[in-house]
């Protein structure tokens, strides 16, 4: 991370409410950060040499971890870079991101992993955890050198953007990755059922004359993956789950003791296929926006823990690629700078989602899934990565103000109650949201 060279001055966060699901702590405490670690927490702390941040009335949480982003570097620097993507991350309250490997070249080799980490060290302001490809060239045939890649810093493997089509490749990937204790993250989509689809299959696709993909395209792959995880004892993580049936399968899989976890995106929690009616390509992503039944199931699955984590699937695209006919546009929307305000406003302020569960899904859960030691918790000696939220401060999502290089958000113009006040990485204050214009 490109952070100030001098050791950070200790930071004392005073008067806030600590929200640390990893320890079950939810109470008013001060928090002292020094030498890149959490030094102390107590009802009333004093540190004469520390810079004091008044966080009274605010929520003090472990730094948020977005376990599914596309940083586009190397190869897609018109849409995003590691520098801009990590700036977008900290502006949105994320202190760490896991970077998907569908770059150019793809991250199927430790040299690419090492390049990404070197870029992050030179130019990044958040922690970057590369995810390696499951298969060489992401072609779904041969496994990558997972051992080398883990040694270089990969925390998981995925051919995200594409499913692992072959059941045999998935079986072997689950077996092989279990040697290193890392999960296989799968974009679950049966490729022939989803061929040429640009949205969910249903009422809206029929009305709009757009090719849809049925829920079953996702569900048959989720079912297959859970069975293969059961067979192998490997760990499978379901990326951006989006259908009621898939969530039901994960629930049953967990009950049966299979090592399966899942994540959900803010857009699948808050939007439905109805949003596609204007053919606006900022609502085109994969998996597509589903129906209200599915959306409600996503919220319920998050609340009851069937879905472990929230991840944005931040997928930047340069404007010229999105400002085209719906059929011709690439899949994907960005999420780093809108996720927290929209979730705070629509799920937390409304009482649908408890604050502690929101924080857990952004901290302890991704840390546990990706084995991120020292992250996702406010325990003493953890890394000094902290996110401070203001549950009352209004915030308007304005794409033109984003730090991201891209603007393809489905939430532009949303007025929210709740926003990020401070983001602290390794004890450094990297984002101060008090200057952001309120909406």
């Amino acid at each position: 991370m490109k952070l100030p060279d001098e050791p950070s001055q200790p930071l004392l966060l005073k008067g806030g409410c600590l929200l640390d699901p990893a320890s079950g702590r939810h109470e008013n405490h001060d928090l002292l950060l020094a030498e890149g670690r959490i030094k102390a927490l107590a009802p009333d702390l004093h540190a004469p040499d520390a810079r004091v941040l008044d966080v009274s009335g605010k929520w003090v949480a472990p730094g948020f971890i977005d376990m599914h982003v596309h940083l586009r570097e190397p190869g897609g620097e018109d849409a995003e870079t590691i520098a801009t993507g990590t700036r977008a991350a900290v502006a949105g309250g994320f202190t760490a991101v896991a970077a998907m490997p569908n770059t150019s070249p793809v991250n199927d080799d430790q040299s690419v992993t090492r390049f990404m980490l070197a870029q992050a060290a030179r130019e990044g302001v958040a922690r970057v955890h590369p995810i390696g490809c499951v298969s060489k060239g992401m072609s779904g045939v041969e496994l990558t050198e997972m051992g080398n890649q883990v040694e270089a810093g990969c925390v998981a493997f995925s051919d995200d953007g594409k499913p692992v089509a072959s059941a045999q490749v998935m079986r072997r990937a689950l077996e092989y990755s279990s040697v290193f204790g890392v999960p296989i993250i799968d974009h679950c989509e049966e490729p022939t059922l989803a061929a040429e689809a640009v949205m969910n299959e249903g009422i809206v696709s029929t009305a709009l004359g757009l090719r849809g993909m049925p829920d079953e395209a996702e569900e048959v792959m989720v079912d297959r993956n859970i069975r293969l995880a059961g067979l192998t004892g490997g760990r499978v993580h379901i990326a951006h789950i989006s259908t009621r049936g898939a969530i039901e399968s994960v629930r049953r899989g967990k009950e049966a003791g299979v090592r399966v976890t899942a994540e959900v995106t803010p857009h699948h929690l808050l939007l439905t296929e109805e949003a596609v009616r204007g053919y606006d390509t900022d609502f085109r992503m994969n998996p597509p926006l589903r129906t209200e039944v599915d959306r409600v199931a996503c919220v319920a699955g998050l609340v009851d823990g069937t879905i472990d984590a929230i991840a944005t699937d931040h997928a930047p695209h340069a404007r010229e690629f999105k400002n085209v006919e719906f059929n011709a546009a690439p899949n994907g929307v960005i999420g780093l700078e809108s996720a927290i305000p929209v979730l705070m406003d629509r799920l937390v302020a409304t009482g649908l989602l408890a604050p502690a569960r929101l924080v857990e899904a952004l901290t302890a859960a991704p840390s546990r899934i990706l084995n991120l030691e020292g992250q996702g918790s406010l325990a003493v000696d953890s890394l000094a990565d902290v996110t401070v939220l203001d549950p009352d401060r209004p915030f308007t999502v304005e794409a033109r103000r984003f730090r991201s290089l891209s603007r393809n958000t489905p939430f532009n113009g949303w007025r929210c109650r709740g926003s990020v006040t401070f983001t602290i990485v390794a004890g450094h204050l990297v984002h101060d949201g008090r200057g952001d214009l309120a909406g």
Binding site: I203, S205, Y279, N323, V324, N327
Partner: protein
Amino acid sequence: MVDLGDRHLLGTEGLTSEEITLILDTAESMVEIGQREIKKVPTLRGKTVVNFFYEPSTRTRSSFEIAEKRLSADIVNFSASGSSVSKGETLLDTARTLEAMEPTFIVIRHGASGAARFLADRCRASIINAGDGMHEHPTQALLDAFTMRRHKKKLAGLNVAIVGDITHSRVARSNAYLLATMGARVTFCGPATMIPPHVECLGARVELSMEKALEGVDVIMMLRIQRERQSRLALPSLREYTRLYGLDRRRLSLAHPEALIMHPGPINRGVEIADDVADDQRSVILEQVANGVAIRMAVLYLLARNWDAHEAS
């Protein structure tokens, strides 16, 4: 005076029965112009129409062009091949280029669903959708309704069977919306591989058996089987399609004795429609073509009136 609510015609979805009736009534007076010795009126004089056809089209394009000429518009024709489009220009840039010529109308035919809406969201001109992907083809549905109304006096209560590849058909969608609004009953018929999911949202019911679908209907609309669009998975063979869903004398006898035989064209004789049925006296396929000119004149006229009112204000 009644007016169209929108300055574009992007689809029949959302058109009210008053608006549809206005267009059909206006088209009646346009028919009269077509019967004059000098088939030309000055309605669109000084207005420019861009006919922007990304997909090949003979009848729709020439129908629009005749309608525009009869209304004295200045016409510019663009097609995808041999233009900047074939050089990789995006739809957005092409639209901006066309817009710079300050047309009153852009008539667009495009292979992508939503292309007409895409232009409407970004252009000052009135956009007329001449067919966008698998979405809508509103002037076709209007000319079909016009043809039905001329023969059957009213649309409400008519039983209409639309047979063929519903999934890929913009004609089926536009007809279903319009006819449902006007109180007709639409039945879609075809193999299940050609019926889109949740098709009831279009306001039609589904009957997989052609024999049952045709029972007593007032109108049979056959859709062209687009061989190029069919995968082997939707249709094992044309021969089997003809056997199961082709309109022949025997099947025709199941419909109302005075049932109209319609087809948006171009027809595949011997595939979806038998040779002798296409030429039957109940076939109004060529009338549909003739009526297309009157409908397109009516649409241009009514939208121009909106345009003038808008410019004046």
